[in-house]
Symmetry: C2
Subunit: 332 residues, 2 copies
């Protein structure tokens, strides 16, 4: 959570004038985004009466890391592609020249549609089922999205991250090096390469889903989106949503609802279903890797709270022991 850059009212009003959204009425820096700065803007609305929805609220994102610039056309184009197909995804607002992002003080900024809804920490099975459906809908809708982006957090990248952690891994938890060694080679050896691929979100945690009641009103924060196995995205979502309560226990009714919702829209193949237990171990390992790296490399005075890697170690161990039970639909 952070706003890394101060933008004054003059800066913001000048930026907004480059878009056909009316004049600036309000701007609040919002406490979201780990590597970006975000503002919630309200404007007086576009001129004219086009077919476009008359949005007056927007999220302005400033991309603080240069590295993301090359990938921005992919991320912002994906939002447009999915929104055009009716998905619960915010549109990218293009400026008067048609550009999806602009440069400001050497950083890229994009104006993105605001969507209502709240992030649900403790979903009901009905809500989890809606999340599964929304994820499958995204996979189906992105089948004809032409652009591709390699997953830069694939198994070899986890291995690199652990190697960069070096002896620091044991400072997080004495058992962590052994746990990683035990599981990583098995996951990599069994990692499938022949499952159906599409554009995946790859980070669909509860804080990236907006809900109104039992409906998904928005999927946001596509900045890990890439071209990879659809079933891996379901595994990531399963690992992200299905645990909670004392000792980070598995909640079977949530995991089952996610899979059932997914299959409401896109039934899994036999091979995908068989791969889910290993994919879920991989999903857990991916978050152990990035969290361990961030734990070791985040300065103590950073504005960002570090996340405990051991939380996902528990999920990894659960998936390694549980077999295919966590993915089996509940008896009807």
């Amino acid at each position: 959570m952070a706003v890394y850059t101060h933008l004054g009212a003059d800066d913001l009003a000048g930026l907004i004038a480059e878009y056909n959204v009316g004049s600036l009425l309000s701007a609040k820096g919002i406490a979201e985004g780990v590597s970006n700065s975000n503002w919630l803007l309200e404007t007086s609305g576009a001129d004219g009466h086009g077919a476009a929805r008359q949005a007056t609220r927007f999220i302005l994102t400033m991309y603080e890391r240069r590295i993301e610039l090359d990938d921005l056309p992919f991320f912002l184009g994906l939002l447009d592609h999915l929104a055009a197909r009716g998905g619960p995804v915010p549109r990218t607002i293009h400026d008067r020249s048609g550009a999806a992002f602009r440069m400001m003080d050497g950083k890229a900024v994009a104006l993105i549609e605001y969507l209502p809804g709240v992030s649900i920490d403790r979903p009901s099975p009905a809500q989890a089922r809606a999340v599964g459906r929304a994820l499958a809908g995204m996979h189906v809708a992105s089948a004809d999205f032409a652009a591709t982006r390699a997953n830069d957090l694939a198994p070899p990248d986890w291995q690199d991250l652990f190697q960069q952690c070096g002896s620091g891994l044991a400072t997080i938890n004495a058992s962590l090096p052994r746990i990683v060694e035990t599981h990583l080679s098995a996951i990599m050896a069994g990692w499938p390469d022949d499952l159906p691929r599409t554009t995946i979100h790859a980070d669909l945690f509860p804080d990236n889903v907006l809900m109104l009641g039992d409906d998904v009103s928005g999927m946001i924060d596509f900045y890990f989106a890439c071209t990879d196995m659809a079933a891996y995205d379901l595994a990531v979502t399963h690992a992200a949503w299905s645990f909670g309560g004392p000792g980070t226990m598995f909640k079977p009714e949530i995991g089952q609802a996610l899979v059932a919702g997914y299959e409401d829209i896109r039934p899994l193949t036999q091979a995908e279903r068989a791969a889910l237990p290993l994919l879920a171990q991989g999903a857990a390992m991916r978050f152990v890797a990035t969290r361990a790296f961030d734990w070791i490399n985040t300065p103590d005075d950073a504005l960002v709270a570090r996340k405990d890697p051991m939380d996902f170690v528990k999920r990894l161990q659960f998936y390694a022991e549980a077999g295919d039970g966590p993915f089996t639909p509940a008896p009807r």
Copy 2:
């Protein structure tokens, strides 16, 4: 800027149910407030068709410091008093039982009307004049506000803060102890006690004023409000708004516009006008004192950016040398 407490959607929906504002549609943690956590909420709107404006957007504030609890009825009551008189001040939304604030996990929370507008870093003279008018309007409108609150950042409190800084003062700047010694006793010796008193904002910096064009659409963050001299509030506002650019130069056209706007609504007495140069030195000293104390006592890993005390040392020295020039209306 910070959100210190995580509130899940369940927590927020449960809280909102205690108010007649409809159901929760959106919640964003916002990067405002140094000692409070703030969320921008959107709801479906109140039941029924009362005379009250149908607000659907609110700021939810969680007061993170226990010390403020005793003062909350004063602060929240003042908002209601000023809003009822048509001032550009957010109303406090009372819960179904009529309470202006509620307790949640041991902390007080209040639901406050959202106001449009943006904070202006570099005001025009017309905007400064509007700010002066709004400040005077608040002083006039609070004349019949019955509650009182002592100013706990009065001259003796500055002295206490400097004493607590001790030898730390010189670590900020080697000349700072001498500068404080030179000016503080003179300010305290000449501090008036017979000027008109009212309820003052006491912290009307640009980020506490929302503007739409040249109009003040909101004055916010009344958590330093207290019963003190009206002219001191004008001096604080003058010190807060009238400097900028290279070397934090005084901008005479802004300072003059603030005073002129103030006198559009509430003409200063002869004694108030004569006191302004000393009151402005006091206003600058007040911010030197709190910023020096915070500079020394803020941990390096705090979420809050420290503000440089030397910025207000320059303003103090400017006011000490400039006499009554900075407060003289421009020739017409």
